[in-house]
């Protein structure tokens, strides 16, 4: 990581103070190494040593290290990985591990590169995870459009089979043996399949419709068996956790978020990119120091911090750490409101601020028409709603149409309130989180950039 010297630019308060944080590369350690996608290269870089170590441990010991590591899911929700693994019932006879490589959240472009550059790190992570949870056959569900990446991953799997790493017995602790298989499964174009239960239905050869929970996948998932679904980046952290210990990994992070953070920075920055950075780097430092600030030199207007499903931040909220809990609770982030003065309640008195999500950070400067931006996001969710639940199927369509007409100068008095009401009617009333994924940013944009929306209404009148 060698960003140019921090430029203060028009957002003058950024510092390079983040550089004093421990800067360690875990999942991108092999990026830039020639032929990093080949098994021989992976081996010379220490590949499969972590698996050899894990084979001397019991599954319970591995689970313990992962719990200690504070590894949290990198797909969006940030759920503690060790806890997720521990939900697999002890008496389960068949357990599946499914890798969610259906990266489709707008603003997110990390898994595609991780798969292309270091597929063997994923395979080793899957081997260790499978051993820990008792899985004998794992699946990688890769986004259909990623044909090139699918070929690279398949070639890596072929190499691992030819080498006897997959499909053959390994001696493990207690004089036992462990063998497992991996099948690469291509999706076929549907954002909703990134939702874990929709993904499982898709993998079973059905339409990608999310399932009602409970039962949760850990109990009844793929083919009605106990199943763990993990994101690509999540599993790629596992070998280093085993190799260097859960405590080491936890120590790299902040609070209850262990390890590093991969962010995908796009939009109005001079150096967009996929970066592995210290967990908790201040958002402003990331944008201005690492990514060079806005190309136009205009001040930042706002930032989407974790893919378009997450409420945006405005320019006054950039001094917060990029870390799971901070983005959900930091007092400097305004509560998202249902309507003016009425905060959205997540239950138990918790307020909605925003979330780190998938690490997709989209920066937009003062020249941006936020109503048009929000309308584009709403059209996306209207397109991708699977149609099962009425509030989402109809509501996302309404949000898209009303927000688009407002953006196009055809708004009507009351449109702002209408969008707030529709969003509030979707959130919490659907089978899966796609409802929230549309409603939360809508409410967030209305909260943070309300005057922009109101100006559009006045202009139309």
């Amino acid at each position: 990581m060698a960003p140019a010297t921090g430029s203060a630019g028009s957002d003058g308060t950024a510092t390079s103070g983040w550089r004093q944080l421990r800067d360690v590369k875990i999942v991108t350690a092999n990026f830039g190494v020639p032929d990093s996608h080949k098994l021989a290269t992976y081996r010379t870089r220490g590949g499969w040593e972590a698996f050899r170590k894990s084979a001397t441990m019991t599954p319970a010991e591995i689970l313990d290290e992962v719990k200690k590591s504070n590894l949290r899911g990198r797909g969006g929700a940030g759920f503690p990985t060790g806890l997720k693994w521990s939900f697999v019932p002890k008496e389960a006879r068949t357990v599946y591990l499914v890798v969610n490589a259906d990266e489709s959240e707008p603003g997110t472009c990390k898994d595609r590169e991780l798969l292309a550059y270091d597929p063997h790190l994923l395979i080793e992570g899957m081997a260790i995870a499978s051993y820990a949870i008792g899985c004998k056959h794992a699946y990688i569900y890769i986004r259909g459009e990623m044909m090139r990446e699918a070929k690279i991953v398949q070639a890596a799997l072929d190499e691992a089979y030819a080498d006897g790493l997959l499909g053959k017995d390994h001696a493990v602790a207690g004089g036992r043996t462990f063998r497992f298989d991996i099948t690469l499964h291509r999706g076929a174009g549907a954002y909703i399949c990134g939702e874990e239960t929709a993904l499982l239905n898709s993998l079973e050869g059905k339409r990608g419709w999310p399932r009602l929970k409970p039962p949760f996948p850990a109990v009844k998932g793929l083919f009605q068996q106990a199943t763990v679904v993990n994101n690509v980046e999540t599993l790629m952290n596992v070998p280093q956790i085993v190799q260097r210990g859960g405590a080491w990994f936890a120590g790299l992070g902040v609070g209850k978020s262990g390890g590093t953070r991969i962010v995908c920075v796009s939009g109005h920055v001079k150096r967009p990119g996929v970066y592995e950075l210290p967990m908790g780097i201040p958002l402003r430092d990331l944008i201005v120091d690492v990514c060079g600030g806005t190309p136009s030199g205009l001040p930042i207007k706002g930032v989407i911090p974790g893919g378009t499903s997450m409420p945006p931040l405005d320019a006054s909220e950039l001094d917060i750490p990029v870390e799971f809990d901070a983005l959900m609770t930091d007092a400097r982030i305004k509560d998202v409101e249902i309507q003016r003065g009425v905060p959205f309640d997540l239950g138990n008195g918790r307020r909605l601020k925003t979330m780190a999500g998938s690490g997709g950070i989209v920066v937009f400067d003062q020249s941006t028409d936020v109503v048009a931006l929000c309308a584009r996001i709403m059209r996306f969710y209207a397109h991708e709603s699977c149609g099962q639940c009425t509030p989402c199927r109809e509501g996302t369509g309404w949000l898209a149409r009303v927000c688009t007409r407002l953006a196009d100068g055809d708004g009507k008095p009351g449109d702002v309130e209408l969008m707030g009401n529709v969003a509030n009617g979707i959130a919490g009333n659907t089978i899966c989180a796609l409802g929230e994924a549309a409603a939360w940013p809508m409410m967030g944009f209305l909260t943070k950039f309300r005057s922009d929306f109101e100006a559009k209404v006045r202009k139309a009148a």
Binding site: R112, G144, A188, G189, S202, G205, F223, P272
Partner: protein, 195 residues
């Protein structure tokens, strides 16, 4: 007219069936395979897949129509999928789409009269750090500008004329999918990683 899978495809299906506990789970891979073989999925292909996996044709129809990558109509042409989602929009994705529309004389959702191009306004394709971008078959075209787009269109049309038709599933594309991460498409610049 009834269709049949090639001997090679039949072999691949046999292997696929060993990788799942149910035949139904092989549906998406078999549909990909069928589309590779036949170019698109007309009724005959739908029934062939249903018979092969012993599934109700209605189920297969439901699945085909749920996923955007399965085509009921002929798509034996260059399908340009231009992203206009937020990261691309902020860096000129709509301008790129408009530019292609002007160049080809068609709107998004239409095909050129000669059948060489089909243009689609696409959702996020996970290359946000290289916006604006588009894909054609397996090839990602990144960091687009109007002159780059012109060169890409010209190259694709030339290859199409020469008969090197882009297959929709990329099986035999001339794009560099086999060479690993180092191999890039003609225009595609390096990936977004800057660490």
């Amino acid at each position: 007219m009834s269709l049949e899978f090639s001997a090679q495809a039949k072999q691949r299906i046999e292997r696929l069936l060993t990788q799942y506990p149910t035949a139904q789970a092989a549906l998406l891979p078999v549909l990909h395979l069928a589309q590779e073989e036949f170019g698109h999925l007309p009724d005959e292909a739908l029934h062939l897949v249903a018979d092969t996996l012993k599934l109700p044709p209605a189920h297969v129809f439901g699945v085909i129509t749920f996923y955007t990558m399965f085509h009921r109509e002929n798509t034996g042409r260059n399908e340009l999928m231009v992203c206009t989602n937020v990261s691309c929009m902020l860096r000129g994705g709509y301008e790129i789409l408009r530019h292609i529309e002007d160049r080809l004389g068609i709107k998004a959702g239409q095909s050129t009269p000669d059948g060489c191009f089909h243009l689609v306004e696409e959702e996020c394709l996970a290359a946000c750090a290289n916006a604006p971008m588009m894909i054609c078959g397996p090839d990602y075209y990144l960091d687009l500008t109007p002159p780059k787009v012109d060169a890409i269109l010209e190259d694709l049309r030339r290859r199409w004329r020469e008969g090197a038709r882009q297959l929709p599933t990329g099986g035999s594309s001339t794009g560099g999918a086999s060479g690993g991460p180092g191999t890039k498409t003609m225009i595609g610049i390096g990936p977004g990683y800057k660490g």
